[in-house]
Amino acid sequence: MEDRIAMMHDDPAVDLTVDGSAVGGMLAAAFGVEMTAAPGQCAHCHTVSVVGAMRVYMRGPGVVLRCPACAEVVLRIVQTPRGTMIDARGAAYLVIERG
């Protein structure tokens, strides 16, 4: 895991990452509630972090959220004309608060 974090920090693309707040609007529209303070558990390293603290890559056709502890992918989000597709296989769970 340490190696992976070192890799993330050495990656020239690290400068392109932003924090989870950047996709707060998209997530709020998809889930219907504010999500940046929502805790989620990384399925890989089991670290629990709020969505706002995850590392976001959003310069591609979709959005990728990575675990701030181990850098594995937690969520992938793609917006299509049909709707918002969320690949959450990297999340053990997400807590969505009652609105």
């Binding site: 932003v18 707040s21 709020a28 529209a29 303070a37």
Partner: protein, 244 residues
Amino acid sequence: MSIDWQLAMVTAVRDETPTVRSFTLGLPGWAGHRPGQHIDLRLTAADGYSVERSYSIASEPERAGEVDITVERIPGGEVSPFLHEVVVPGDRLEVRGPIGGYFVWEAGLGGPLLLIAGGSGVVPLMAMARHRARAGSRIPARLLFSSRGPDEIIYRDELDRLAAAGDGFAVAHTLTRQQPPGWTGYARRVDEQMLAEVIEPLGAGVRAYACGPTALVETVANALVRLGLPPDRIRTERFGPTGT
């Protein structure tokens, strides 16, 4: 919460620096926000092409029915040049929000409060500082603000006034590229030594909020952990590389 797009009326425009401009958006149905939150702004062309950007709210929640955003003009950008060159009071813009519940500070959360900003990263921190002042809070707070040169310090006069109020708010500036004659502030990029000096008078239990270009926020977050702050007391908002 309201996540639907709504129409905001631009009611005021003012220059903060040669490349940074603030816009007051009138929002009659605004449910209020928390300091640190942002809005999404959407522009739609006649052919249906649309583009969205997130802008931090600069104003304090005590101001009802309107928010300020402060926007740096990014050459070659799709949204900021339009806002700078085309938008005038009376125009309408599509916005949704407020958005975010993580990078938020309210006086009720307590402190001491350490704010670290790079360039226009000062915007959400200004909402916190303005809220702190308007709420009459005396929670010790310090802002470390990195700008390139003296003409690029956003909110300079207002920050001077807030720091002169004598209610426990202090500002330390660093100018990384150009310093005026007689400059007594820092004159280098934010580093661990600088953070140690700024944080020292705040004592224990500090809550830190850092916002700016990713490289700066990365440096700050790592240095604060080394200085002994628990990671859950450090909140970050990286906005990507400088100048994009």
